[in-house]
Symmetry: C2
Subunit: 200 residues, 2 copies
């Protein structure tokens, strides 16, 4: 299993839009499982899971690891091909033909984030929502690009997962963004805006 | 189910050291499940899972949602009590009596992160490892404190999960750290150090 796979094909990226496929991939990153085991866990029928598995296998996101013969049944075990899949910024920014839907989804994600700012004590006047949403899109995009640049320059496999890997990647991303003057200007603007919306 | 629970009791935090308990909590955050279903998924025996569930229930991390009567068997369904559990920095910094092990584990996490820097093109001379590890501990600690401060000032439930929530929390954390002069000084020092260790 690779550490990371960066997905640059919009058709493959769109497979992640389906919650059931995301659930399958999530489980197959942790352990190898058969279609039957997945069906039982996710409360779906086996034929629907088998169909998803075949689509995910063709896209290179899962692979067969072994088969188990039980009477006259052959059970195939599957595993994800990477510990983490990253949708490339070239898709979420809509830079690749066919990635328009992904770019739209990415904008909606940022709008949703802005809409939930009141949960943390910020009240955004309606007329300011659009501007703030654009700033957060820029933030999210710069963060995404920094992360992808780090991943794409990986030299050797990482020997850890979980918390140490998260700290390492977060640190490298923060360093990269922190050294970028454009990011600093953006953060100055976001801090300024948010300060004025804070409810005490 | 609450959005977040901050764990401040070292005894409760230590329950997360066991990978099986982490797996149980991970699954019960997504759906309600019985001990039998968990045992099948995690390939453990039912009595061991039932024991873990009872410990997690006493600690307030899971709760029973409903029972299902099947013949003369009563199946109890469980769910996690929060979407995300956060171990308080007062434990990971060793500020609470009984949290020494947690603080030690947190230091080891940072050392592991440093040891994996070569995977991303940094070669750290042995004599510099300790200093860098300390800087990364400081980074991790400030990030942790900022995150906990945001969470602990939550005013209303959040209406999203997944990507929009991650962007929102990441933004609020970045804003908080960015406004902190001590964090800026730390980042200047980390950037300086890492620059000198980069292999081209």
């Amino acid at each position: 299993m690779k550490d990371f796979i960066i997905i640059k094909d919009p058709k493959v990226a769109k497979l992640f839009a389906d919650p059931c496929r995301r659930d399958i991939l999530h489980n197959l990153r942790k352990r190898e499982m058969t279609a039957c085991q997945l069906a039982r866990l996710l409360e779906k029928n086996v034929s629907s899971i088998s169909h998803h598995l075949s689509v995910l296998e063709k896209a290179g996101l899962v692979k067969q690891t072994r088969t188990l013969i039980k009477g006259n049944l052959v059970e195939k075990f599957y595993q994800a091909t990477a510990k983490k899949f990253i949708i490339s910024y070239t898709l979420s920014e809509g830079l690749t033909p066919g990635s328009e839907d992904i770019a739209k989804w990415s904008k909606e994600t940022c709008r949703s984030a802005v809409e939930n700012l009141p949960a943390f004590g910020y009240e955004i006047p309606v007329e300011k929502e659009k501007k703030l949403s654009e700033l957060i899109e820029k933030y999210s995009s710069m963060k995404h690009i920094a992360f992808e640049q780090i991943i794409s320059r990986q030299k050797k496999p990482v020997k850890v997962t979980g918390p140490p890997l998260r700290i390492l990647l977060s640190l490298l991303e923060t360093v990269r963004l922190y050294e970028n003057k454009e990011f600093r200007r953006l953060m100055d603007e976001i801090c300024e805006q948010l300060k004025s919306f804070k409810v005490t």
